[in-house]
Symmetry: C2
Subunit: 249 residues, 2 copies
């Protein structure tokens, strides 16, 4: 059994401009991993209909699930719901159950239900709602696409709501071994051999560089192995720990 | 004049798995903006040749420049150079100038030039090198594709080296107005009208939620306008500041 492959589509000019650093990719990937779902691809696109629709249609055909974030608020720049409806070629209509959720939510906070807020009750035909316990306005699921807000706190809550709807595969476990002072070039050959000996695991090497308190650059490498078999991961872990022998002094 | 559109391709299982939070998208986008270059799309793909090659060929055809990060180190999981050569259908050969850079670099630190390290001197035919003052091993530019390391510190240095090679367009400026306590639904209508009045600017609305010291959730919205004309941005800024009148007390 393999992990089930999914994709993430981040919708938002604010990420592309560099104004905001995305944290939803990491949040979603970390949430999915224990469910046996892995992320095979991420796309970040602008608030532009053509781009959103094309990415949606490509990703939903290729991956078991697609998770989108961003663009479902009440303002003019929120166009995700329209784009999802267009991608699936279904109507986008004001839905009674979504409207009731909003009216109930706003009644409790004495907030006026403006036409702008009612935009958030427009749901593509056939979609199932996703609960939003943070700000009320629901997300929705249409077929294999899960449409969530952009605010990380709301994304987190929406993931909790949809977890039961997701069918995962094998859960990927990982081990990591940090080797201070070791350089990638020193271990590359041995690591390549280990990778050949463990074809069932995925082995990655990630160099790091940090300034220490004296302002000098220190370095090292983190080796990561991923796979479904814990015994194999334990075995490779001790083999990788032995790579500290390659430290040059 | 418009900003010139570019794309970023992040190559790395460690980002997709959620183990590492990407900061290169924000770093690259922030570096490019003052040069009149905007990021139109980002893709994050796994360390898999087919995926890398397809993404490269799609993005380099659509965007003026493509910036890649990751996968050019000495270990077995670093396959970006092979993939770039395959995408352009050129040979990947050990190049004398790149080899000389590596030999010189390692000689100064008494480091052995292993076969694994020499992998980093394999450069696609026709490429121009990108200097790496942090760890020596160069990146490279082939046509409109800039191939950089994954470590953010090295990416930063490589961007400095290639800045002179990039032809930018109009520089996008931005203003942002933070409105504490204001909710998106309260300003959505007025903001939509403002967007119609400033069709030359791009207006975005970004809600935020924070826990205050008493543990209560506070909220507000940040309105961002982008464009090339400073006078127009100043005008819209004061208009947006006036939106504090929508605060419900």
């Amino acid at each position: 059994m393999e992990p089930v492959k999914t994709a993430i589509l981040i919708i938002g000019d604010e990420i592309l401009s560099g104004r905001t650093r995305d944290i939803n990719v990491q949040q979603i990937a970390s949430f999915l991993a224990p469910l046996g779902l892995s992320v095979g691809e991420v796309r970040i696109v602008a608030d532009e209909a053509d781009q959103i629709i094309e990415a949606l249609n490509t990703l939903r055909a290729r991956y078991r699930y697609v998770f989108t974030t961003g663009g479902i608020g009440p303002t003019h720049d929120d166009i995700t719901a329209e784009c999802v409806a267009a991608a699936f070629d279904v109507a986008l209509t004001l839905r009674d159950d979504a409207r009731a959720i909003l009216e109930d939510w706003y009644a409790r906070s004495n907030t006026e239900v403006t036409p702008a807020r009612l935009r958030m009750a427009r749901i593509p035909d056939g979609a199932r709602l996703i609960a939003n316990p943070v700000t009320g306005a629901p997300g929705f699921q249409l077929d294999n696409v899960f449409v969530m807000a952009g605010v990380p706190k709301i994304v987190r809550a929406m993931l909790e709501d949809i977890a039961d709807r997701l069918e995962g595969g094998a859960v990927t476990q990982s081990i990591s071994v940090r080797l201070d002072g070791v350089r990638e070039g020193d271990i590359a050959e041995a690591l390549g051999q280990t990778a050949l000996n463990y074809p069932d695991l995925s082995l990655g090497s990630y160099p790091w560089f940090e300034d220490n308190e004296a302002g000098e650059m220190t370095r090292g490498v983190v080796l990561v192995a991923r796979g479904a078999d814990e015994a194999r991961l334990k075995a490779v872990e001790s083999e990788l720990q032995g790579f500290s022998r390659f430290l040059k002094v």
